[in-house]
Structure formats: C-alpha cells, structure tokens
Symmetry: C2
Subunit: 310 residues, 2 copies
Amino acid sequence: MAALYNRVALIGLGLIASSMAHAMRANGLAKEIVGYAKSAETRAVAVEIGLCDRVTDTAVEAVLGADLVVLAVPVGAMGELAEEIGAHLAAGTTVTDVGSVKQAVIAAVAPHMPEGVHFIAGHPIAGTEHSGPRSGFATLFVNRWWLLTPMEGADPAAVARLRALCEGMGAKVDEMDAAHHDLVLAVTSHTPHLIAYTMVGVADDLSRVTDSEVINYSAAGFRDFTRIAASDPTMWRDVFLTNKDATLEILGRFTEELFALQRAIRLGDGDHLHAYFTRTRAIRRGIIEAGQDTAAPDFGRSAIVVEKSG
Amino acid sequence: MAALYNRVALIGLGLIASSMAHAMRANGLAKEIVGYAKSAETRAVAVEIGLCDRVTDTAVEAVLGADLVVLAVPVGAMGELAEEIGAHLAAGTTVTDVGSVKQAVIAAVAPHMPEGVHFIAGHPIAGTEHSGPRSGFATLFVNRWWLLTPMEGADPAAVARLRALCEGMGAKVDEMDAAHHDLVLAVTSHTPHLIAYTMVGVADDLSRVTDSEVINYSAAGFRDFTRIAASDPTMWRDVFLTNKDATLEILGRFTEELFALQRAIRLGDGDHLHAYFTRTRAIRRGIIEAGQDTAAPDFGRSAIVVEKSG
C-alpha cells in the first residue's frame, strides 16, 4: 500500500500507539514514525526495541513537520498536551486521539487547535489488559472497530485519509456523534469495567474466602471479570471521571435491574429468572455471528477453557 | 489406567456428563458407561453419537448394577431423581452429583439414599457456555478443580475411589465443607453470573443503543459478560434459587462497594478510583500464575483479541 502520511507523530507509547507503530510499518502506511512519551523509561524502551524511526525528548519536537499527530495519552492528560503542542502544528496537519471518551477529549483539545489543523477524534475498540511500549502488536486492530467522531464541518478529505489509515491497519471504521459514542461505550465498556472491578474488589475483601480459593476456582466465571479488571488504572480513572454522566446513567439502570433479579431470588420467582436468562442468550449469538468472538469452547487453547459450569 | 468402576451410570447427558463419558473412555476409567436423560431427543442423540455403551429408557434401569451413579441434572431436579432411584441402589454403590450448589443438593438427595450407599456430593469447576450431549469433550476437566463435599462419616475408601476418578479425568481435587463451597462459589461464580446477566439485559433494554452497536462494539469489554450470560437458563435459575442466602449476601456486599465507586465518580474522586483499580490487578496475576488462565493477548486466536481499550 502507498504511504498515506509522510510523518506520523505518536504521542504516548502505550499499547495502542505501539500497536499502531507495528501495524503502520507492517502495512507501509507511513514514511516515517516519530514517537514521544512522557516517561524517560518508556522512551528508552521504545529506542531499545526500535519501535519508531525516531524518539524525541519533547512532544513539540515530535510533532514538528508531522502530517498526522496521534494523541495516545490518558484522557485526563489530553488537554494539557494539546495546549503544549497546539502552536507548533502546521496548517493542513491532521490530529487525532485514541481516547475511550470523546466529548471530554474534544472539549479539552479542540480549543487549542489552530486554524487549518484538522482535529478528528477517534477511538479504536481493541486492546488487551496489557500496557506499555512492549505490549503492542501489528494485528491488534484487525477486524476491530475504529470509531471516528469528526466535528461538524470537518474536512471530508482529511477524514477520508484518516479512515484509510485505520482500514489499512485492518480495522473497520464507523463515524458517529461524540455524545452517542460516549453512551454506547458506557454500555459496552465503561459500566462493564466498573462492575468487573467491583466484583474483584468484593472477592478480595471477603475474609472467609481466601485469595487462593478465589484464584483456584476462578474458572467458574470470575476469571472473565479479572481479565477486564486488570486494565490500566490511570486510563480507567480518567474514563470514569470524563464520561461521568453516561456511566452514571447506565449504572442506575444496571442497579435497578439487578435489584429486580435480587428480589426474584429472595422471593423464589424462578419464572422471572428463567425468562431473563433466556433473553440474554440471543445477544451472545449475535456477537459470534458478527465475528467479534468465537464459539469454540476452548478458543483454541488446549485444556484452558474459558467458561464455567457454576 | 485400570478401570476404577465396573459400571458408571450417568443420569442427565448434558455438557458435564457427556464430557465425563469422553474423559472416562479416553482414560479407561470405567468398564461400562450407561446413560439416561429425561428427554427422548437427548437419548436419541446420545445413541447416534455413541456417547455411552448403553442408553436406557428410565433412570432406574440405568442405575441397576452400577457401582457409580452420577446425578448430572439441574440442581432443582436432584431430589425427585434421588427419590426415584433410591430404592434401586445396591449397598456399596457410590452416588455423586455435579451440581453447582452443594447444601441444597445434599438436603434433597441424602434422605433418599439407602443404608450402605455412599453419597458424596461433588462439583467440577469446568464448563463452556454450551449445553447438551454434543457439547462434551474429553479434556474439559484437565487442570480444572473438582470439589468434593463428603458428609461427616463418609467412607474414606469410597471418597478415595471417587477422587481417583476425577484425577483420572485430569482434574485437581479438593475437599471442603458444603456450606463453605456454597459461599466460595457465590463469590467466584454465582454472583458474577447474575451480574453478567444483568449487564446484558440492560444493554438489550436500552433503545437508544441498537443491538447491532452493542454487538459490534462488544470487544470493548461487554463481550466477556455475554459469554458467561449465555449459559443454560434452567441450570442458573436453580443455582440462584438453591444458593439463595450466600448469593444474596455477596450481592449485598457488591452493591455496597459499587455504590462507593459510583459516589467517587459523581464526586470526581480520582484517587479513590485509581487505588481501587490498582488493587484488582494483583488477583489477575494470581490467576495467571495458578495456571487457570493465560496471559497471551490473543489466547492463540489470531486477530480475535479478548480485551479492550475502553
């Protein structure tokens, strides 16, 4: 594939940015990749593993001459970063981000973007529970969705070019309004994560059940919660603080439904429970049919089964 | 390995029993395997795929002459089944079950066991979200825990023989008190399942987020919930109705902690959130070290990553 950008600046070199570096290289999407991270240790690792063509000592150096700048830092750090680099961005540059929340990022970043710079917020829905510059891999985005939330009046050519980059890394791209993005992600990601964190915290607190029991018998269902509760704490703190309204709304609905099921258990209402549990199977089938998971009982892992018998 | 039992009767031919049939055969643990299921269709499938040496038309026929009887029906059906077969069990026979709840099964089954029959309740912590006679496979129990909850005064030789069977199928065996089992499973399995069912139900209800969005963007975390919320509805109804007290206790603690996190979000208390999310990573590491999951980002599945970026 012909390179889509001459110089891509990756600011922040965690899982997403390092996977982008691998994926852009593997697919010849950028002529040069420049990287910067706040932590000197992260920069040293990036140099050691040859993640980028160049690693700079400041964010400003990284963005000079770049035609694409990717903000890949925690959501809470986006505003300060945008303020720092804003004045150094040339007209015609595209700036995007990979944050999990879009309204708050747009509010923090857009005011610092000079006239003629195309700021197009984005969010790749892919990842693992690992973080840091060593955790990236070139196929992270393959068959995953990359949501773009361009503002009104965004330049169609700039959007199309960014979209081509995402697709070049194997992703499927969808465009939507930032507020809708934040609601959808509150349902599919933010609230599930908060719940998983809570359940793991409860298990850790319960003195009558030892940690080793929780760990040994985790295959009964709990294990899936720990996987999502192991994600980066800073990233998740920022997600909840910046997508507060949507998360609290979905949490409210969640506790309402949970209380209804809790009441059915207390009253012994088996029909209510059975009907509820039957309904949820259809969604699971939809996910497998949409290619976002596999039905294989062991996911190809021999003797490590992900699910549960109770 | 020398056969441990001459004739094993499997009553109920779902995921666990059919996996036992495959595992016992693969490891030469039983000279003859006899099967029975309430549904004529299930029996027909079992005959078609050659799951057992014989499939009988009644539970009583299946247990005649068996030296091991495995009750592998939903927890709510155990009492009636025990009553039906009790009088036909010869002294010296071992009876076990594979239910996810132990106190309720013991209360329902033990009164129907004649003098000289060894009833040793059990629970293999393994499974997939699939059910039925076709879903079993021989390695389901490999490296998984099988909990036995023998009653006071249980015959040590009968317990040792049953333990050897479980180990012969690849499982690790632990013995514990039935009440403790029910509390541990309320934490590691029952409450996580109820929560997962609830979250999937909320997503399904939310009309502003279409089903296809929830499904498409499920890789952000929601997908792991749907996997555990796709399990057999009848089995889970019975689990909650029969392990009511422990489940309600853990649910109470869960909602208490969830409300504390919800309050931290509302008040913008980032330190509280960060500290909480940091603590949960340790449990995840423990699960990987205990061999109950893998740290591989893609579980060996190319381009299908189980985790999330937000």
